[in-house]
Amino acid sequence: TQLLEQSPQFLSIQEGENLTVYCNSSSVFSSLQWYRQEPGEGPVLLVTVVTGGEVKKLKRLTFQFGDARKDSSLHITAAQPGDTGLYLCAGGALGDSGYALNFGKGTSLLVTP
């Protein structure tokens, strides 16, 4: 199992602030996915990055894949209460059972008005 370390584990900020969540591993991944999960719901896929150095933007969210494809970051600009949720990164790699995702422990974000 390839471990993914996410930081910070918890984050509580005021509306309008910026934040960055980090996802790090010692292993190389073929792809990396970011999900957001709200209470009582399943994870929703935000983005998939596959190329080292790739940057993708989704409105106020900016995702970056490290050059060596071992790490990734999620930056949120001007956070809003609707951004509250659990953010999960997941690295994809070919394993014994086929292509599998390894999940980080998640970052729980609370944005207060």
């Binding site: 073929s30 009582g40 719901e41 399943g42 059972s97 086929g98 292509y99 995702l101 422990k105």
Partner: protein
């Protein structure tokens, strides 16, 4: 992407009983997955289910405790057998979606509480 539904959405069960969770997809998919998410935790893969073959279980999970069926390309079930309070979790199914890059999409989850 695929639209995935799960039944039941939540349940409260007594110790020693079993619960079968259903996962339905609106498109045919080759690979389906079952995850467990314990309170305040991330996702742990239980098993991978291919249509027409036995499910492949991850370390720490066994077929007697978590039997899985995959009768066709749009449906799967996970049974949680002989439940104990430690089985209280959210159970999630997901599907593999290949559009040139590999992605997984998740159902809404089943919240299980065992008393």
């Amino acid at each position: 992407s695929a639209v995935i539904s799960q039944k039941p959405s939540r349940d409260i069960c007594q110790r020693g009983t079993s619960l079968t969770i259903q996962c339905q997809v609106d498109s045919q998919v080759t690979m389906m997955f079952w995850y467990r998410q314990q309170p305040g935790q991330s996702l742990t893969l239980i098993a991978t289910a291919n249509q027409g073959s036995e499910a492949t279980y991850e370390s720490g999970f066994v077929i007697d405790k978590f039997p899985i069926s995959r009768p066709n390309l749009t449906f799967s079930t996970l049974t949680v057998s002989n439940m104990s309070p430690e089985d209280s979790s959210i159970y999630l199914c997901s599907v593999e979606w290949d559009r040139g890059i590999y992605e997984q999409f998740f159902g809404p989850g089943t919240r299980l509480t065992v008393l």
